[in-house]
Every structure is written in structure tokens, then in C-alpha cells.
């Protein structure tokens, strides 16, 4: 929990907000777009970039928010929701896209609408090298599985891109992913405070 809290605090000091961006506003726009599209089930694996959507979904009596153990569950959840007459969305981070690959075969085989919002890591000022491989492959992997990929790079367009993606997915019964770029979200800055090298790694100075 302490780590999660620290990450949330770090949102405020990310590269995105250094460019004068309001992280809260576009995240609210994105959730509003899901609401307007009539989404009633939201499966998610948490990410800081989805924090507001997750919080608002959990608080919304007309939406069922389902925390997942792995992202592929969210594809199957969306299939079940659609079979039962509801619209769903999957919120995940780019690293989770790799976990969904075979489950995405549901979308094409059932010819069902599928909407996922993917917060990107590994592409914009990334600090953690372990995020880079899947972040680099995300778009190609989705495309290879037949998912149409749209992208939002700027806060002002995020809600609009999600609205268009939802219309496309639910209107044409196709699978659509919106990549919410790391530039939009801001690269995590772990090293805001001075760190000093110690035996075996780094630690916050003055502790």
C-alpha cells in the first residue's frame, strides 16, 4: 500500500505535468466517454493512469467494476457481458497486453465489440527497462490479433479518441484499443529526491 501511495504521489511530478498538463481532467474525460458509451462492466488491472476511471467506476451504481488477476480475464469478461447484453471495457497497462493475446481470439470468433484502454509504459522517458519490451510491442501485438488501434497523445484529445473508439467498437462489432500514451500520462519519476549510491543500490538521501 505504501508503494501504491508513493506511486500516486509521483503522478504529480511526472513529465506530463511538467508540460502543464492536468492529469485529472483528461482522466475524467476518458471515464465520461465510457459512461456516455453505455459501458456497464469495467474489468481492470490497476494502473495509475486509470486511477480516476477505476475510482469513479467503483463508485458508480450503474457500472460494475471488476478487479482482475490477469488481463486476459478482462477479454473473457467482456465477451460474457456482451453475450448478456451489456457493454464492457478493459482497462490495462501496456505490459498487460501480452497477457491477452490468445484470449483476443474471442473477439474475432464471436464477432463481438471489444473496447480496451491501454496506458502506455516504456515509450516516453521510461525509467524502468523492464517496461520497454512490451511497451514497444504493444501496438504490433494488438494489430496482429486483429484489434484496431487508436492513440491519444494529448490531454485535449483523450476523451474524443475514446468516444470515437467506443462508437467504432460497439457500432461495428469490432475490437478496438486506445493507447493512452506515456507522454499523456507522464513518465514515472522515481528519482525526484536526491538519491545516493549505497552498497547494492540507491536510497533516498538523508534517510
Amino acid at each position: 500500500m505504501r508503494q501504491a501511495g508513493m506511486d500516486a504521489a509521483l503522478m504529480c511530478v511526472q513529465h506530463g505535468s511538467r508540460e502543464g498538463r492536468n492529469v485529472t481532467a483528461w482522466q475524467n474525460d476518458v471515464f465520461d466517454a465510457l459512461k456516455e458509451a453505455g459501458v456497464q462492466q469495467i474489468g481492470y488491472v490497476p494502473d495509475a493512469g486509470h486511477a480516476i476511471a477505476i475510482r469513479r467506476a467503483e463508485a458508480d451504481p450503474s457500472i460494475r467494476a471488476v478487479v482482475l488477476t490477469t488481463e486476459e480475464e478482462g477479454v473473457a469478461l467482456a465477451a460474457g457481458a456482451w453475450l448478456g447484453g451489456q457493454r464492457a471495457a478493459l482497462l490495462m497497462q501496456s505490459s498487460g497486453v501480452g497477457n491477452t493475446i490468445n484470449m483476443l481470439s474471442l473477439a474475432g470468433n464471436l464477432r463481438m465489440p471489444f473496447l480496451t484502454l491501454v496506458t502506455m509504459r516504456g515509450e516516453w522517458g521510461e525509467f524502468n527497462p523492464w517496461q520497454v519490451p512490451m511497451g514497444t510491442a504493444t501496438q504490433a501485438v494488438l494489430g496482429a490479433m486483429g484489434v484496431l488501434v487508436r492513440r491519444a497523445d494529448h490531454p485535449a484529445e483523450a476523451g474524443l479518441v475514446v468516444r470515437a473508439a467506443a462508437d467504432l467498437a460497439f457500432g461495428s462489432s469490432v475490437a478496438v484499443a486506445v493507447l493512452l500514451s506515456q507522454r499523456l500520462i507522464g513518465a514515472k519519476v522515481f528519482v525526484q529526491k536526491p538519491h545516493e549510491r549505497v552498497e547494492g543500490g540507491w536510497r533516498e538521501a538523508g534517510r
Partner: protein, 189 residues
């Protein structure tokens, strides 16, 4: 251990009424088709590990209907995290029955984890499922049947690993899905 899988499935879906049934890929799908085709049957031919979560999405979307997921041990093992996800939602109109032959039957009968010590009922209980049950006789399967239509029950039925004659139900997913939705009275998108 000696239970015939076809007899087990036939009993589980006997007098199914408007029960919504999701079958996991492989033998569970063949068994469900062999028990009698219905518009309320969803046959999976892929998406291994996804049957339980499809059942959950369906159960949440149709709270006034009962959903039964029937799948094999291999399929359930691949989607084991779903047992935690489902329990966490507290959905009460979803039940799951695993036909456990302790084998990966489709691929040559290799021993699965349930044959190597994994107790799926214990996993489900540990995930917070309110009720779990294990059936080894047809009388116990018959006792499971009403419970699977009333409770949020996770059940394992120990079945014979013996192979049975193939029965292949419809495999056009788009057609199966639209027939299923139509049976629920859902208009096309």
C-alpha cells in the same frame, strides 16, 4: 473415478430450462453438445482459461438468470485466477462444475496438475467461494444438480479418463453467440 463424462454432463444439464450454460473448450464442449443442443448453450472451441470469466460477465449482465460454467480440469487450471476474481465479485447467480479426469485429454492424455496434487475445491475455497463440493458417484452428481442452479457453488466431479466418442457441436462462434443473445431477447447491436 469411474464416472462417464457424458452421463455426468447429461445429469448436470437435465431439465435445464432457461439455464445459461458455458462449456470450456475440448471435451466439455463436446459433452454439452452431446447432451442436446440448446440456444442457451455457449460452446467454446478456444480461449482456453476463459470459460469462467465469460460466465462471470454473463452473470453480471443477467442478474435474474442462472449461469453454469462446465469445463475441464486443464481449462480451469489455466484460468485459475478467475476463481479469485469471481469470488471477489460476490456474484450469486453463477456456479461452476469442473469435469476432472486429471488429464489433458485433447493432447494425448498427459497428467494435469489435478493429477499431481492440486485440489481445485481447496483453491476455490481459498479464493473465497462460499461453497465447494466434490462428487465421485452419480448419486452425488444428482445432488449437485439443484445446488448448481441455486448456489454460488464450485464443484469438482471426478470422472473417468476414458475417451468417449467425439461429438462435435456447432463451432461458428459468431453464429453461436448471436443465437445465444437472441434466446436472451437481446436485439442485434
Amino acid at each position: 473415478m469411474s464416472l462417464d463424462r457424458r452421463a455426468v454432463m447429461a445429469e448436470l444439464v437435465r431439465d435445464a430450462g432457461d439455464l445459461l450454460v458455458v462449456a470450456g473448450l475440448g471435451s466439455a464442449t463436446y459433452d454439452l453438445g452431446a447432451a442436446g443442443d440448446r440456444a442457451e448453450n455457449l460452446y467454446l472451441w478456444g480461449a482456453m482459461g476463459g470459460a469462467a470469466m465469460i460466465g462471470l460477465g454473463l452473470a453480471l449482465a443477467q442478474p435474474s438468470r442462472r449461469v453454469l460454467v462446465v469445463t475441464g480440469d486443464g481449462e480451469a487450471l489455466m484460468g485459475m485466477g478467475a476463481l479469485a476474481t469471481i469470488a471477489a465479485t460476490g456474484a450469486t447467480n453463477l456456479a461452476m462444475a469442473v469435469l476432472d479426469n486429471r488429464r489433458f485429454g485433447e493432447t494425448g492424455g498427459q497428467t494435469s496438475h489435478t493429477g499431481l496434487g492440486t485440489d481445485l475445491c481447496a483453491v476455490a475455497a481459498g479464493c473465497g467461494w462460499p461453497a465447494t463440493a466434490r462428487a465421485r458417484t452419480m448419486a452425488e452428481v444428482a445432488a449437485l444438480r439443484p445446488r448448481l442452479r441455486e448456489e454460488a457453488l464450485f464443484a469438482v466431479v471426478e470422472i473417468s479418463p476414458e475417451e468417449v466418442e467425439r461429438f462435435l457441436p456447432q463451432r461458428d462462434g459468431a453464429w453461436i453467440a448471436r443465437r445465444f443473445r437472441a434466446a436472451l431477447g437481446i436485439a442485434p447491436e
